[in-house]
Structure formats: C-alpha cells, structure tokens
C-alpha cells in the first residue's frame, strides 16, 4: 500500500521508510512559530535554541496590548527576538494573525513540518505542509531541540469535484463537511480531487484552518501550480511537495460535489453535525453583533465579499458589524481597493489586524444573552465573551448580509450579479 501526504512528510522527516497509522515517529521540525501569548513574565525561557533561522515570532492575539500583562509579554518577546538573533519577527503593524502571516510570506512550504501553539495551525496544510497546534511547553521543547514526536494517524479524505456556485464560499464548504463527516478526532484530513483546482488559495486556507474544529490532527491539500506559483513570488526557499499515492489507504472517503452546495450556518456551541443550509435554519434569529475576521476568514476575499454585500446599504439599527483583517497586508489591499471605505460608509467598524474578538480577547467581546453571527473560527459557549451569548457561524457573505438585515439570512439576494 502507498502513503498519504501526511504519512510521506512524516516518513521523510523521521528517516523512517514507510510509516503506518499507529507508528510513533520523531521528526525534525522545519518551522517553529511563536505567538505573543507564549511570552509572559512567568513562562520559562530557553538558555539555547536549535536554530534562529527556523523560528518566527508573530504578535497577534492581544495586539495592540489591551492589558499590562499583555504589554509585558510582548516586551519579553521583543527581548527574546533580539537576544537570539531572530530575523523573522512580525511586530505590530508589520504582520497580522500568525497563520495568515505564515502563508503570505511563504514560511510554510510544501512537504515541510511546522509547529505553533495556536490550535488553528493546521491552516498551513493549505500549502501541503504538515502543521498542527502544540502546547506551549512542547513548543519550548521544539525551540530547544528542533524535534518532536508524532503518532501517525489514519486519514479521512474529502474528494472534491465541480465548481462552487457564486453564493457559496470556503466557509460554506467547510460547514457542509462538518455536516457530513462530523468530528474526526484522531484522524488526519486530506483534500483531493479535481475540485481543488477550482478553489482559491484563500478558500483552501479557510478549509485547512477550520479542520481544527473537526479535531483533525493535520489537514493537507496537494501543492498544485497555484500554490507553487504563489510561493515562487514570495520566497527563494526550495521545497519538495508530497503527493498521496494512488493506493494510499484511507479510513473513509467522502465525495463532495461543490456545485451542489448552498450557504450554510452553524448553530451555537459546536460545529460537527451542528450545521445546516441557512434557508433551513427554521427560526428567526435577530442579531446583536456580526463579526468578520480571524485566521480563517479575515482575508482579502472576505473583505471583497463583505463590501459587495453592504455596498449602498446600511447596517441594521442596534446591530454592530466588526470587521478585522487577518493581516496588515490584507488591510492595506482592502484600503487600496476601496473595500474598507465601502464598509465604513455602511456603518461597519474596521479594526487593526488581530485575533481579537475571535478568541474573546478584545475588540468585540459579546455580552450576556447577546446573539452574534461570525465568520471566525470557533463557536464554543463563552468563546467570544459571555457564556450566555449565542454564537452562530457562517461565511463572511452571510455574516455581512445578516448585519444589514439585522437577523440571520441567506446572502444570495445581497450578492447581486457581480460575484
């Protein structure tokens, strides 16, 4: 039998030949991403590190610092970067959310292994990179030794075909997968099939990022020409993609015809098996807050679509619409292309790039009994603020349309013919 993408990458990095589900392998890690939250007055710091060239430090969750403790942690991060001579440092105003910064700058490359404390690190699988979240202590170990262990997991494959209708976005595709497959804890996710070529890199990144919500270990896409072309425009570093073998073994394969999909929504508290087409929601849900942002959906495509929906319209009275870019680069482009102006004219609030409201940190925390619709990453009870708030999740188009309507609604009528 052959190997999946993840199995091949783990095999190459461990010096083992063929690896199989259940094997434990010790691998050299190519890229080590540290975020602001891992630096604090109490966090242990290493005396020596493996290789400053493998490490990037990206300040993203609590920026600009909302508390003194956050500000102190960020000072410690700056000192760490200086002391160890780390070139890849993305301070406030020069970076953004770590996963977006990693993809934009070609830090995650096909065939590589990347680690970061954030649980949505599987985002880099969009570029055929084996990437996952680790605890802060394990990240410390990897900074010191350059190595960690993986238990090879069985893989679930989504075989994509067809082309999405214009009112369907990467988030809708994901929410559909969550409906058909549910939670896949203990398994990798692999995306394949002719439908991959039809997805933009932003859509692939959304899908890989959101795989964390199905509790996937890794989520990998093949590195096709679109990926290679993009990476050649941002990095000189060589890479060696891993394709899955035709006779690779999968725990399950789900065929997905993209052309049959519709706008989806997730109900509050959890995503697996808790999603449905928005037209079938079956309840009138007035909202207090609409949020577009996060590593999953604060991308240029999200700004474009949100602006498209609200152009010439106003956000509903008593509803607040917060839009947070996933990077400084996204924000600059969104300003240049006029999306930000359109959003501001409609009454939206556009913030700096940060994880912000997505993790309930700052800049959009929701209050008791409020209802929020979000295109961010996670809808656990209490995730974005009060445990009594209800968090629905949908595409940025559906979020923007709901912000205008004042209640959760299908975005199709708002998208017009241009999309």
């Amino acid at each position: 039998m052959g190997m999946t993408m993840a199995e091949k990458i783990l095999s190459r990095h461990s010096g083992n030949g063929r690896v199989r589900p259940g094997d434990i392998v010790v691998c050299d890690v190519d890229k080590i991403i540290q975020i602001d939250l891992t630096f604090s007055a109490t966090a242990p710091m290493p005396k020596r590190i493996v290789d400053p060239g493998k490490i990037a430090v990206i300040l993203d969750h609590a920026v600009p610092a909302p508390t003194i403790a956050d500000a102190e942690g960020q000072s410690i991060a700056r000192k760490f970067v200086k002391d160890f001579g780390i070139d890849k440092f993305y301070d406030l105003g020069r970076g953004g959310i770590c996963h977006q910064v990693v993809l934009e700058n070609g830090l995650a490359l096909p065939g590589q292994i990347l680690t970061c404390t954030d649980s949505h690190t599987c985002a880099s699988g969009a570029f055929n990179c084996v990437a996952r979240g680790m605890g802060p202590l394990e990240m410390l170990q990897i900074m010191c030794t350059g190595k960690t262990w993986y238990q090879v997991a069985p893989t679930v494959r989504f075989e994509l075909s067809g082309r999405k209708p214009p009112n369907v976005f990467g988030k809708d595709v994901f929410l559909h997968l969550a409906d058909i497959a549910g939670s896949v804890e203990g398994h990798n996710i692999e995306f394949g099939g002719p439908g991959v070529a039809e997805l933009t890199l932003d859509d692939r990144a959304t899908l890989a990022t959101m795989a964390a919500e199905l509790s996937a270990e890794f989520a990998t896409f093949p590195a096709d020409n679109k990926v290679a072309e993009y990476l050649r425009s941002v990095t000189q570093e060589q890479f060696d993609p891993a394709e899955s073998d035709a006779d690779a073994e999968y725990a399950a394969t789900y065929p997905v015809d993209l052309s049959q999909l519709r706008p989806y929504v997730a109900r509050p508290d959890f995503i697996p098996h808790n999603t449905l087409p928005v037209t079938e929601l079956g309840e009138d849900v007035p909202i207090d807050q609409a949020f577009v942002g996060s590593c999953a959906n604060g991308k240029l495509e999200d700004f474009r679509v949100a602006a498209q929906v609200v152009r010439g319209r106003k956000i509903a009275p008593r509803v607040r619409f917060i839009v947070t870019p996933s990077s400084q680069r996204v924000l600059k482009e969104a300003v240049r292309l006029g999306y930000v102006e359109t959003l501001l004219e409609a009454g939206a609030m556009v913030t700096n790039s940060t994880c912000g409201a997505c993790y309930g940190g700052h800049m959009g925390v929701v209050g008791p009994n409020e209802v929020c619709i979000t295109s961010s990453t996670r809808n656990f009870k209490g995730r974005m603020g009060s445990p009594s708030a209800r968090i629905y999740m949908a595409s940025s188009a559906t979020v923007a349309a709901s912000a205008v309507a004042g209640r959760i609604c299908d975005p199709t009528a708002y998208l017009g013919d241009e999309v």
Binding site: V26, R132, P136, S183, E185, F380
Partner: protein, 169 residues
C-alpha cells in the same frame, strides 16, 4: 495505593460523561494572565460549579468522546496540578492528549468506560497495559495502552523536567 509507577493508579471516579468537553471550560480566556491559584479556581467553574472544592489529589477523571477538544491552552496542566491521577475517556482529542503526555498527566482512551463506572466508584487504571478495573463493581475493561515512547516522557515528569535535565532551561 502504594505504587510508585504513575501509570498504574487507583482512585475515586469523577464522571464527566458529555462528549466534546472543551479546553475553554477548563481554562477560560479570562484567566490566561492570572496566577496559577486563580486558574485552578476556574477549572470547570461554569460547567460544574463547586467541583473544584470537592476534587481531591488521587482522583480519576472519566470523560466522553473527544475529551479536551479546543485549543492548546494547558488544561491538562491544571488537572495535573489539582492532583488528578489519571484521565480515562471514550476518546481524547489529539492536541489534548499531547498536552497530557507533556505535562505528565497519565491519560488513556477506553471505549465503553462511561458505562463501566458510576461517579464515586473506585477505579484501577493500568496505562502500561491498557486495562481498567472497577473495584466497586468488580468489572474490567480494555483501553489503548500508552506507547513506551510516551510512557517515558510521563515517567520523567513531563517535558519540563527533561529540558531541565538536559540543560536547556
């Protein structure tokens, strides 16, 4: 029980039977920058108010499917600091399982464990062999033994102790 192997333990069961019990319930964002003492007071504080006053060192936590789903915040470290001797769940989220190993919290998946125990039962857990025995009911079950490579990390006291020994910290 006088057994020096941290991977073979016996203790009183707390049953957290729901599926998908997440890290945010163990360690809400609001306590990220707070002291360990404050963080410990918030473990399951909204999910199961009062539990923190009743749990004792040596107790065993029994969970449902996908226990510990969510983020990398070290909920397992807080359970360890509360003195939880072992976690046995129907299935354990991959990131959470790594954090259990790294913070030296013995953890094991065991299909059917929820129906094998009632809260308050005495459970014997042998993670080296992948077996459980409900001493109150006299029933046995089989789980997934922890691989030797990971057992060594737990026995060493977790990653932090290893890094200190090797001179990195």
């Amino acid at each position: 029980m006088s057994n020096s192997d941290p991977l073979v333990v016996q203790g009183r069961v707390w049953l957290f039977a729901d599926d998908n019990i997440n890290t945010d319930l163990m360690m809400p964002q609001t306590v990220f920058a707070k002291s360990l003492e404050v963080q410990l007071r918030h473990v399951f504080a909204t999910y199961r108010p009062g539990w923190i006053d009743e749990v004792r060192p040596g107790d065993i936590l029994v969970g449902g499917r996908n226990f510990g789903t969510g983020s990398s915040r070290p909920g397992s470290m807080l359970l360890k600091r509360l003195g939880i001797a072992a976690l046995v769940a129907e299935t354990i989220n991959g990131l959470f399982y790594r954090n259990c190993v790294n913070y030296a919290l013995p953890a094991m998946e065991c299909s059917g464990i929820r129906t094998l125990v009632n809260e308050g039962d005495t459970l014997r857990v042998d993670i080296t062999h992948g077996s459980v025995e409900n001493l109150t009911r006299g029933q046995q079950g089989n789980g997934v033994r922890m691989p030797d490579f990971l057992q060594a990390i737990v026995r060493a006291g977790g990653i932090m102790e290893r890094l200190k020994t090797e001179g990195y910290l």
